[in-house]
Symmetry: C2
Subunit: 325 residues, 2 copies
């Protein structure tokens, strides 16, 4: 069952008082540079530092706690882990996060800071799905998938709903909306919201170069896979292929997929630091990078940009600022 | 003539469409840590990266261009320079900024990026006031002072007005508002706005330790000076003494002045990076530092914090992230 716009409206009501209605930021400098109006949805300012809390809360707030005595389980080394952990903490449910053993300590600590239990596994020899499923059975827990789930998609879609509402309140009709894309949950939710609230607006995925599974899938009309699962600084965008459900939505609604290099993503992180004063992680900055590098026309146009997260390791961020990346 | 609240209301109307109505951000994590509600007015997201655009625009938007054929002159190495340059650019007026010769190149470039002319002087042998006055006479220009001016104070006060309005719209009565303080213009404006819109709320200055001229002046009832003019990472807060006009307002309205160390300011910069995902400069983060270090009671209280700017040199920021400061 694919979610539709009414599911996003319901999600928006569930998120009231729990999620941050993140600001939409316009930079006079960026507008002047691009000759257009660039509306930046600052999801780095969301609870847990990324949009992922939206989907996690939409899913977990509806859980029947009696039917899930073991709480929730998720596999993620990043933003989804924090979103699930924070949402479970609010509900008072236990959360178990399955992470690769080589995950930076800071990311493990972030999940634990929301009260989650963290289990590590060896990427080379173990399957995270099997480990997660074992805990689901042993504990009577519920798996919260990162993107291919109607409630997750609808929750992420609230970011697009808020962006469309805010653009309308400023008298702006968005020509395009650019969304960073990994498994496609945020993109699908945003595309559904935009279809309903901003007809005529084109939604585009933005991915790291070399990891354009979504762009290739949109072009071929069937699910394509990346050849590799690591090797970009955009660690938040490493899903190897579109989700079945997200692709079913996105292939109907999306324009051409875009891609930017790691160097361009890093430049966008620096731009966010220097001009916007927002902390962006590389994967969260690819849509901004696509604007800065003119992957899309901006002159006399209005473009929405989802700046999706700001959970960047301090060491990596310092290297980006020093132009070592 | 001291400004009053009606001047702030007029300034607010002048700033519409030109200044950013910056978001007030609440972090569930910070609220949980402090046991209160901390409302952060994110002035780092203001045009030019700090609140200074507010006062500069309020002053410069009212200038009679015919009476100032030479445009505007300001002396500042930092945020005031950018605010004045950006405001003059909008009006199409020339702007000349007088900066110490040892000002980092990036700050000179920032002022030039708004079309300003930059003149440098030798701190050891020349007086910036004399240089500025010479240009004022030679060119028929108007000096825009950094803080001791009714229009500047009223302009900065709009940040306090917006904070008070936003708190009220969330049903929050602020117990305290913490404001970083150098010459006292922002503080005076915020205090006037809060007096009118949030009666009973106490406003406090926050300064770098060793540079507590304002706290000492408030305690003694007369204008006191700092012994030194440099030596803190909070370069935005180095005015050597309160302004005459700002002190006349602040001594009537303010509670006790607070101070934090450079290390505490740096820790607040890191907190803004890690948790809030906002880029703060050290001087802009001292009010947040005062909350994080419990210089003020927060349990079951509501505290407004002005996060006043984010114009931090990338090299310094990288060192702060790496805990070298």
């Amino acid at each position: 069952m694919l979610p539709d716009f009414s599911d996003i409206e319901k999600a928006a009501r569930r998120l009231e008082r729990f999620a941050v209605r993140t600001p939409v930021i316009e930079s006079p400098k960026l507008n002047a540079m691009t000759g257009g109006r660039i509306l930046i949805k600052a999801e780095c300012l969301q609870r847990t530092g990324s949009f992922k809390f939206r989907g996690a809360w939409n899913r977990i707030s509806q859980l029947d706690a009696a039917a899930a005595p073991g709480g929730v389980v998720a596999y993620s080394s990043g933003n989804h882990a924090q979103g699930v952990a924070a949402a479970a903490e609010i509900r008072g449910l236990p959360a178990l996060i399955v992470m690769p053993a080589d995950t930076p300590r800071i990311k493990q600590d972030n999940a634990r800071s929301y009260g989650a239990e963290v289990i590590t596994y060896d990427r080379a020899t173990q399957s995270r799905e099997e480990i997660a499923q074992r805990y689901v059975k042993e504990r009577g827990a519920v798996l919260v998938p990162p993107f291919d789930d109607p409630d997750i998609i609808a929750g992420q879609g609230t970011a697009g709903l808020e962006l469309a509402e805010e653009a309308a309140s400023r008298g702006v009709h968005l020509d395009d909306v650019l969304v960073c894309c990994s498994g496609g949950g945020l993109t699908a939710g945003v595309a559904l919201a935009v279809e309903a609230k901003s007809p005529g607006t084109k939604v585009h995925t933005v991915e790291p170069e070399g990891f354009e599974d979504y762009a290739r899938s949109l072009a071929s009309g069937r699910i394509e896979r990346n050849e590799k699962a690591t090797g970009s600084i955009c660690d938040a965008l490493m899903a190897v292929s579109p989700g079945e459900m997200t692709f079913a939505i996105n292939k109907r609604l999306l324009g051409e997929g875009l891609a930017v290099s790691d160097a361009e993503a890093a430049e966008a992180v620096r731009f966010a630091f220097e001009v916007l004063k927002l902390v962006a992680e590389p994967g969260g900055a690819v849509a901004l990078a696509a604007v800065l590098t003119r992957r899309i026309a901006t002159r006399d146009r209005a473009v929405g940009v989802i700046l999706s997260g700001g959970n960047c390791d301090a060491g990596l961020y310092a290297r980006i600022l020093k132009r070592e990346i």
